[in-house]
Amino acid sequence: MIKINNLHKFYGNGESRTEVLKGVSLNIKDGDFVVILGASGSGKSTFLNVISGLEPADAGTVCYDDKNICEMNDTEMTLFRKDTIGYVFQQYFLLPNLNVDKNVKMGADLTKNTNYRSLIEAVGLADKKKKYPHELSGGEQQRVSIARALAKQPKVLFLDEPTGALDEATGRMVLDLICKLQKELGFTMVMVTHNQNIARMANTVISMNSGRIVEEYTNSSPQSAYEIAW
């Protein structure tokens, strides 16, 4: 369970100081699929970065099973990231000098996961494991990035606009893959998107505007990536 309580985040100093998160509180259940919706500048990406430990909060608490990550020092935070979270970025951020196999190994070696190649197969890239990132399409690179994040067997997977740079067909394929892997492996998933249709796939939907949660609801029957509109 992730318990987020009264989270505040500011950017800038003096007169240009802006409050990006204005006292956000939320509970995320284990194994849940949460989608955070919001327009550009709503604070959704900052919220994701703070609750995943990539950015420090200015006030409030983020507790993973009662451990408040806002109070952790650098070493504790490194261990927390290693043991708990996986991250998928919109821009993939694969290591350009390493092939698919070695990129996925980046995640696998952290938890001594020797079975990581099954994930490369699961994302449909078994025949491309010797290819380098620049030799892959955008969709393939995102699939490598998903395999890399899952290879470290995270308890929570954070995804920041994972389909933002992909076309519709590739986007649907990537989302379908993520959902299947989530059901199979049982991790908690928190995804930020501005695409309202993707929200139909989630169990829990959070809408943000101007640094606040303005709506929170549960989908009684989540749809698949091929059922939603794009």
Partner: protein
């Protein structure tokens, strides 16, 4: 302006290397030219032998140091231009797309000759400030008639103007070649995807793989780090071992140049390694790798090359001094002896190890400070 003054300031390494090259060459070549003028005044066989040895020393020292540092400056310049084009691909691509010709863009790179002009001019002036002391020491031996300092305009042109023009032209030609990439590829930053792949695909741990891959991708940095340590090892050991072959002033100068060159090049190379790996380090931190593991993957691959540079520098200075004693000074009545100085080598090795680890420690601390948010700003 395509290349700004701020970009030129980043080329402090080239300025320092050219300064070092010219200060040594100017002093010894000026002395060489002035020494030739007293040839007719030499009467004894001993003096003639000493005269020949002095001429050879001046030629060897200026030729070796000048040649070596010229090569380093050429590599540094190509590295800087390559790096500049690599980091400004988008802007250069847009200019090409808007209709600027390759030549129209490349000609602006002539400003890369500016640090060479400043470095060589400062080197030449400093050499003239130090020359009275050098001449005083050389004249003190009494083997030769007193040699007076003369200004040689040709030497000034050869050491200041010629390198400036040469490097400005080299910068234009090299950038002209590098800008061959089509405009769209530059805009999409596709030319930076020249990946050097491993011939053998071994199943190594990720950190080992990344370490080896980093070294494979940046061969110019391997050269710089090896060369920096080579300079340090050769010049510091040489200056401590040549007490009978050269004056104290020359020893101190050689040691100072060795240390300055090594530290400057090592800092430039390490900064470049860390900057080039900023995203990799950030991603590793996002995944939960510790700062120690990041340092190990990014910097440790160069350590064997640094020690190889030390061994090479030690061997080089031994051969050079041995040659000086057996070839250059062979005709002198006082037979000079040279033996490899083990204690000096050991002390230099310890000093080098401490200096190297100190620099690596400073960069580890810098890596620790890298914010994981940096990657999101891309």
């Amino acid at each position: 302006m395509i290349v700004s003054i701020k970009d030129i300031f980043k080329m402090i390494g080239m300025l320092i290397v050219s300064f070092c090259a010219v200060i040594v060459c100017a002093m010894f070549l000026n002395y060489h030219l002035d020494l030739v003028t007293v040839e007719n005044l030499i009467t004894t066989e001993l003096s003639r032998n000493f005269y020949k040895a002095q001429l050879s020393t001046a030629r060897v020292v200026s030729g070796l140091s000048g040649g070596c540092l010229l090569l380093t400056t050429v590599v540094l310049l190509c590295f800087y231009i390559g790096h500049y084009i690599g980091t400004h691909q988008k802007q250069l691509g847009i200019m090409k797309a808007l209709g600027y010709t390759r030549w129209g863009v490349a000609k602006h790179f002539c400003v890369f000759g500016l640090p060479i002009l400043v470095g060589t001019a400062l080197g030449y002036l400093s050499a003239h400030l130090l020359m009275p002391k050098l001449y005083e020491i050389q004249n003190k031996d009494g083997y030769l008639p007193d040699v007076a300092i003369n200004f040689h305009p040709g030497l000034c042109a050869a050491l200041v103007l010629a390198p400036t023009i040469f490097f400005a032209l080299l910068a234009v030609i090299y950038s002209f070649v590098k800008l061959k990439t089509p405009a769209l590829a530059l805009i999409r930053e596709q030319s930076s995807h020249k990946i050097v792949t491993s011939k053998k695909d071994r199943d190594r741990p990720f950190l080992d793989e990344l370490r080896k891959s980093n070294v494979r991708q940046k061969k110019s940095l391997v050269f710089f780090i090896t060369f920096a340590v080579f300079c340090f090892a050769a010049m510091t050991q040489m200056s401590c071992s040549m007490d009978e072959l050269a004056s104290e002033m020359m020893s101190v100068m050689i040691m100072a140049i060795g240390i300055v060159l090594a530290v400057v090049i090592l800092f430039i190379a390490t900064t470049s390694v860390v900057k080039a790996n900023n995203k990799t380090i950030t991603m590793m931190k996002v995944f939960g790798y510790s700062a120690k593991e990041c340092t190990s993957a990014v910097l440790n691959g160069y350590r064997p090359w640094a020690y190889f540079g030390f061994a090479l520098g030690t061997f080089y200075q031994y051969i050079l001094l041995k040659l000086m004693v057996t070839v250059v000074f062979k005709d002198l009545s006082d037979k000079l002896e040279y033996k490899f100085d083990v204690p000096v080598m050991l002390i230099t090795l310890v000093v080098f190890a401490l200096l190297y680890e100190l620099i690596m420690f400073a960069y580890t601390k810098q890596m620790e400070k890298l914010s994981v948010k940096e990657i999101m700003l891309d």
